[in-house]
Symmetry: C2
Subunit: 338 residues, 2 copies
């Protein structure tokens, strides 16, 4: 068998502010011969997520930083092409931290096998039926604990997670108000996904629009963004509001320390709860989410969209779409054919 070439994106310098393509190096190396217990995974889809940005910083994060010279860390889906590991026979579909490369050689640590439902496209396993779906589901229901009739506000509402959060909120009987960054996104939230209201933070005063669309105050806030939007929400929270801190994308590219919310004292006055949430902690409960989301999807109650960009070589210039808001749904790089 001819030696396969593994194209890889490696970190050469840590981004200051937004990711620049020059922070990465495009390298090639032959795929090594497998050792006992190892498998060779051909990567098919690579998930681009806001959290990737944090892994490139030097500082401590919930995972160790990507080291200089290392392949960029990323979650993806692939298929086992060669195996010296009985747990992962050839042909097995796997998901996990496969990295920004054509092939991953691994002993299977941090990978999990999954069975594809023939009626569900493979990309959905990086979205609705993957980490994104789990993030929305457990973040909203376990941390946010929305009750029928309560008002739920979601920032980053047109994003992969936010759009699911809002729809699950509607299923659970909440009034749902989304905050997004364009008229097109706001229309999609209202007209297609059934949000009660959507606020374009680029053209509206978020505080005034929230006051208008949340006449009974805010009970649950699902936070993907941070900054001024968080401050506006904190002004309007009700007694015992729950704030699910899932992301703070507005500050991931910051080059200096960003202050916390100026209305922090309202957490005290309103006896509110702010709780950090990372989906990694919920892996052992994946079956719960698949059952509910699968049912809602089959009933047409949940819609989602994916934004698939072809070619591993395009990953560095594509990831900034998450930060400038030009992605149209869950952002995915197609690395090879299914």
């Amino acid at each position: 068998m001819a030696t396969k070439v593994n194209r890889q994106w490696r970190l050469v310098s840590r981004p200051v502010g937004s990711i620049a393509e020059s922070n990465f190096e495009w390298t090639q190396e032959p795929v090594p011969t497998l050792g006992e217990g190892q498998i060779l995974v051909r990567n098919i889809y690579l998930s681009l997520d806001p959290t990737n940005r944090g892994w490139l910083n030097e500082g401590e994060n919930y995972l160790p930083p990507v080291a200089i010279g290392e392949v960029i860390r990323g979650f993806g889906i692939g298929v086992v092409e060669q195996s010296r590991n009985v747990n992962f026979p050839e042909g097995t579909l796997v998901q996990g931290l496969l990295g920004w490369q054509d092939y991953a050689v691994t002993d299977g640590t941090n990978l999990s096998e999954f069975l594809k439902d023939p009626s569900i496209p493979l990309t959905a396993y990086l979205g609705l039926f993957g980490l994104i779906g789990m993030t929305a589901y457990f973040g909203l229901l376990d941390i946010g604990k929305p009750k029928v009739g309560e008002t739920l506000v979601v920032s980053g509402a047109a994003g992969a997670v936010g759009s699911l959060v809002g729809q699950i909120g509607k299923i659970k009987g909440c009034r749902v108000v989304g905050i997004a960054g364009s008229e097109e996104k706001c229309r999609w939230l209202k007209d297609e996904l059934g949000f009660d209201a959507a606020i374009n933070y680029k053209t509206e005063s978020v505080l005034e629009s929230l006051q208008q669309h949340c006449p009974d105050g805010i009970d649950v806030y699902f936070e993907n963004v941070g900054g001024e939007i968080l401050d506006a929400v904190l002004k309007l929270i009700n007694l015992r509001a729950r704030i699910v801190l899932c992301g703070l994308i507005s500050q991931y590219n910051a080059t200096q320390l960003v202050p916390g919310p100026y209305n922090f004292v309202n957490i005290l006055i309103k006896r509110a709860k702010v709780e950090g949430f990372i989906v990694l902690d919920y892996f052992n409960r994946a079956q719960e989410v698949l059952a509910d989301l699968g049912e809602w999807y089959a009933q047409g109650k949940i819609k989602y969209r994916v934004d698939v960009i072809d070619g591993l070589e395009n990953a560095p210039r594509t990831i900034n779409k998450l930060f400038n808001g030009t992605n149209q749904g869950k952002l995915i790089i197609k690395v090879s054919e299914e």
Copy 2:
């Protein structure tokens, strides 16, 4: 019966920054004749608490602001001297929002009767066996949920609430580190109250000292202060840390918006929980606290101190002791003889 004179402190202007005596007016009026259902309470002790400051601002708080011209709101202990209310016969000891005045005329709303244990001084009912004790007890145990072997950090540790929080933390098997504002206070915390360590934030780097005294990180933080101390703590919190947001005294006198903690993102990274807490929500559970605190006090496991200043006329100039840290224990104004 000669008409009694009621001396009162009334709000004439809202403080900008620290409370100035000129914000208050010292007035006198005759005690009115009681209407049906009313009682006349002679105030004995008036509790001075950091939360009093917030009530003087115009903005929304957890209670409505004191209106211009109104008697200053304050919690206190008094005795019923006249009664036209069968629920409060003459001689009954009561506690509640009696206000900065010699006498309160009320229908009993927001007052509660209490039975004094002859072995416990009356002032203790404004401290250990009152709102202060309940605040420390429920805030730490219900919100902070400390476990044996965990590290608890308390700010405002030599204050009325903080000193109890630390002692309860020791009873519950925690490593307890207090942050206070003088060498004398730090010595008291360590030598008298059994704290494992105490940090003088006026002379030490709080971050460096916390790193030294919390080698296993911070699991529970009881927050009375805010500002830079909160930021230092957030840098060192462990996974799933609990932050009890009980007070933010460092910003109560602020004349402009104060930013939230710069390390806010660590709440997300560490999946920590920040929860606001106000003791008003726990009134119906007062018996629990009295049983436990009473037992611990009788066993000598809990110590506390009170700082009693004589004379209602001294209330305005005394309350700032809370903010400059010159009080030596629970700050109380003695209004009349027991």
